[in-house]
């Protein structure tokens, strides 16, 4: 290999490294991160994006360069050099990806643990906890009541960092039904169609489903957990940025799946407290008003068609204590 060749290879390698690092770190592909857990996930994404950009440039570069440089010359009917392999190179390109995926795996494991994914309280699953009950209430919809037990759950539990800080999490029960989320605040008894949480306090959601499988997803928190009828799941996060974020059902749950959306509102402690007070006053009068307030706009357009009306809402189980 000549010096000129070596220089070319080194400068190409440096160029690929710089572009990959730059794109891996500065791409604005993910939405704003509203919790420390989300920032940790973004860290993995940036690393993976850096590696992926590097490999992408390398291999696409080889393909394009080959297509130009190694084109058959007109009239040349001979074959190329009979190179059948090279054990050293093959070992290198087996070893490098192995090391890369090992690093990504260990990093992912670490982040997942920090998110509370390996919290024994939340990450075990011993199957359906109880036979769900069949109710023959509303318009042929097979309403199910998922049973709640105290500790068997799956999903993301308490993060080790929060546990050591001894913060009391805000506990909210989430019931997902076609096509809405119902949030029940255990302490105050408030039932809402929107999720309000105070900034800075850990939140623990207990997620159940009332009919089919749904999923609770907040892109800005990078957390998602399926709500499975007959099982209880749990996720935890610590919102650190005030704002309104979408809560999206991510598991196909029927024709109006796309309209199953609501808001997560992360607000200051005072704003949260006054919202709770307001809800308590309103709900001491009637339950269904509060639920109706929470109905999100995209769904309203279809409410009639789906068969959601005041009567349906009244028949919903208040909450399962």
């Amino acid at each position: 290999m000549t010096t000129a060749n070596k220089l070319t290879i080194i400068s190409i390698a440096i160029a690929i490294a710089i572009i990959s690092l730059w794109y891996g770190q500065s791409n604005a592909l993910l939405p704003v991160a509203a919790s420390p857990e989300a920032e940790a996930v973004d860290g993995i994404f940036q690393l993976m994006m850096t590696v992926a950009t590097g490999l992408f440039l390398l291999i696409e570069g080889v393909l394009i360069y080959s297509a130009i440089r190694f084109r058959k010359k007109p009239g040349d009917e001979t074959d190329g050099p009979p190179v059948e392999g090279n054990v050293l190179i093959e070992i290198v390109w087996t070893a490098i990806p192995t090391v890369i995926v090992l690093i990504i795996s260990i990093y992912s494991f670490d982040v997942y643990n920090a998110m509370g994914g390996l919290d024994p309280e939340a990450s075990r699953d011993s199957g359906p906890q109880q036979v769900a009950e069949k109710t023959n209430s509303n318009q042929g919809l097979e309403g199910l009541i998922a049973s709640v037990s105290d500790y068997l759950a799956l999903g993301l539990g308490e993060s080790p960092a929060n546990r050591s800080k001894n913060l009391t999490p805000l506990s909210v029960d989430v019931n997902a039904i076609q096509y809405a989320f119902l949030f029940t605040y255990g302490e105050s008894g408030v039932v809402s169609g929107e999720l309000h949480v105070p900034v800075g306090q850990p939140v623990r959601l207990k997620i159940t489903a009332g009919d089919v499988i749904h999923a609770f997803w907040v892109p800005q928190l990078r957390v998602k957990q399926d709500a499975v009828p007959g099982r209880e799941a749990q996720i935890s996060f610590t919102p650190q940025r005030t704002g309104e974020y979408p809560i999206i059902c991510a598991e196909l749950c029927g024709p109006y799946h796309g309209a199953m959306k609501t808001q997560l509102i992360v607000e200051s402690q005072q704003a949260y407290q006054s919202w709770i007070d307001q809800q308590q006053v309103a709900q001491s009068q009637s339950l269904e008003d509060a639920v109706a307030v929470g109905q999100t706009d995209p769904l309203n357009a279809y409410a009639e068609e789906i068969g959601v009306n005041q009567q349906t809402l009244e028949q919903l189980p208040p909450h399962t204590h």
Binding site: F70, N86, S108, Y112, G117, A122, Q220, P246, G254
Partner: protein
């Protein structure tokens, strides 16, 4: 002596007529083409459904079709593209090529082979018929309890159709395995096998291990649906998560069942048109087996946000990450194969290199998805839609087109037209990237999949995707025109137009009814390009071949 010679001569002069292709014929070449043509028709149907889906998604509101019909469309689109296009097209290619590549007269079980094919049209028509009673609308994954509650008639038809198609796939796999293991010409050892045969060994093993599990899941789902059992129905104590495990125990291997045959095809096509031996034959052969094994123990990575405990998520993250290694070996091996070659950049090669470049994107996003914390964010979002289409369209479909351009001269004795081929490639490649690249961003930003109604902020990117999908729809026409025109009036191709070394090129194009005029000779390895030239005074492959023929007679 003379009489037997005469009878064998008259047998050889027996000609294929076009009517043979509409009958229960046991010739593997007829069956192969039957598979390819049938699956291509379903590709057009699936493609039309895709265009409908993208038209709906051009606007954030649900306005082109009703939400129910939209769900039916993506359910049938997914089912058709997987079970009626890519899987049978791979089986068709394998049927056509395996006996020719190993110097056999036919498959091990010719009648079984015909039975396997003839299950496809009824299975496909049954699925199409479901539109008359309300097609299934629970997605191609058909998760209970949703699948038990929506469109029961359509759902049952879907189950029966998949059971028929799955059985066909199992019968085909038995045949591939038996043929490759037992019907090779005597002097052909395992390491003389073309890599396509290696990849079909791996594919057949996966089909045989995993497909019965899907059948079991579907039969239980069917009981839940018809006779109100509660295998998966939580109202009776059933467990919907068990269905997901059983479903993905097949459906993740299914991805490899759909891509491995085309890994094999690409390993054939690149050396021929780069005029160089495949780089690292054994590494590529064994990586197929490694993918086959690892592919069976990664299924729960489809369930990272479902009912799975933490330790299980970690285990499946590790296995999924490892599968990147054998896949990487293949991609690097292909790049090294074309590096320094004398590349004939014809349509087959364009699609072959396009395959590597597009599959790479699907592979890289696949490694990202293995990471549990990241997957929890993008699971069931458009990032997944982008990933799976780069693997199955950028990978399998481009690989299939490469294979058709490469083996069409063998199948018909005519070349496909190069100009139309290039137009087809350019339109397909642009359309593919325009349709699926923006979907990565949509998913990362928070657009979930399987929705007819979406947030207006995502509309710009969705319109780009829709335009891309229309380009893909248009790209089919040059291909169709090319096929018809070339079959009728294409330039004649000789026995070995690409000067390739694998055995299928040692017989006439199209091959005789029992494949080889005389016993084929294994006079070189499958990829010994350039080897003989350097040793034997610039003799071309063609000359060498005629020398060998002369020696024989």
């Amino acid at each position: 002596m003379t009489t037997s010679a005469e009878t064998s001569l008259s047998e050889q002069e027996e000609k294929r007529t076009w009517t043979d292709y509409f009958t229960f014929n046991t010739d593997h070449k007829v069956i192969g083409i039957q598979y390819l043509v049938t699956s291509f028709i379903f590709y057009l149907i699936g493609g039309a459904l895709a265009a409908g889906i993208r038209t709906e998604l051009a606007t954030p509101e649900s306005d082109f079709v009703s939400p129910e019909l939209y769900n039916q469309m993506f359910t049938v689109h997914g089912t058709v593209m997987i079970f009626l296009w890519i899987v049978p097209a791979g089986a068709g290619l394998a049927n056509y090529l395996i006996p020719l590549m190993i110097g056999a007269k036919d498959m091990a079980f010719p009648r079984l082979n015909a039975v396997a094919f003839w299950m496809i049209p009824p299975g496909g028509l049954l699925l199409m018929a479901s539109f008359f009673v309300g097609a299934p609308q629970a997605g191609w994954t058909s998760y209970p309890p949703l699948s038990l509650m929506t469109g029961k008639a359509g759902e049952e038809i879907w189950i029966l159709s998949i059971l028929i198609l799955g059985t066909s796939s199992i019968l085909g796999a038995i045949n591939f395995l038996a043929t490759i293991l037992k019907m090779r010409m005597p002097e052909m050892g395992f390491f003389d096998l073309p890599l396509f045969c290696w990849s079909m060994l791996a594919t057949a093993a996966m089909i045989l291990i995993s497909t019965p599990v899907l059948a079991a899941a579907l039969i239980m789902l069917s009981f839940d649906l018809i006779v109100d059992t509660s295998f998966f129905d939580p109202t009776g104590g059933g467990d919907p998560i068990v269905y997901q495990h059983m479903f993905w125990f097949y459906s993740h291997p299914a991805v490899y069942i759909m891509i491995l045959p085309f890994f094999g095809a690409i390993s054939e096509i690149l050396p021929v048109h780069a005029r160089k031996p495949i780089f690292g034959y054994r590494a590529i052969a064994f990586s197929s087996l490694a993918i086959s094994f690892l592919g069976l123990i990664v299924w729960a990575h489809h369930m990272f946000s479902s009912g799975t405990p933490g330790w299980l998520r970690m285990f499946f993250m590790a296995t999924t990450m490892i599968i990147a290694v054998p896949t990487g070996i293949k991609v690097f091996g292909w790049c090294a194969t074309i590096w320094g070659g004398k590349i004939r950049l014809n349509s087959a090669m364009l699609f072959g290199m396009g395959f590597v470049s597009a599959f790479l994107i699907g592979g890289l996003s696949g490694v990202m998805l293995a990471s549990v914390p990241f997957d929890i964010h993008v699971h069931d979002s458009y990032f997944i839609v982008a990933h799976l289409h780069y693997v199955l369209f950028g990978g399998s479909v481009l690989g299939l087109f490469a294979a058709i351009y490469h083996w069409f001269p063998k199948m018909t004795g005519k070349y496909l037209n190069e100009t139309w081929g290039r137009i087809h490639f350019v339109l397909t490649f642009i359309g593919l990237n325009l349709t699926f690249l923006p979907m990565h961003q949509l998913g990362l930003e928070g657009m979930n999949r399987r929705i007819a109604i979406y947030d207006a902020e995502f509309q710009t990117l969705n319109i780009i995707c829709t335009i891309g999908s229309y380009i893909l729809a248009v790209s089919t026409f040059p291909f169709l025109i090319n096929l018809v025109w070339s079959v009728l009036k294409g330039k004649k191709a000789g026995a070995n137009p690409w000067k390739a070394l694998t055995l299928e090129w040692q017989t006439a194009s199209p091959p005789l009814i029992e494949n080889f005029e005389e016993e084929p000779v294994l006079w070189s390895g499958p990829y010994d390009y350039g080897v003989d030239v350097s040793e034997e005074n610039d003799q071309s492959v063609q000359e060498l071949l005629s020398d060998v023929k002369a020696d024989m007679s």
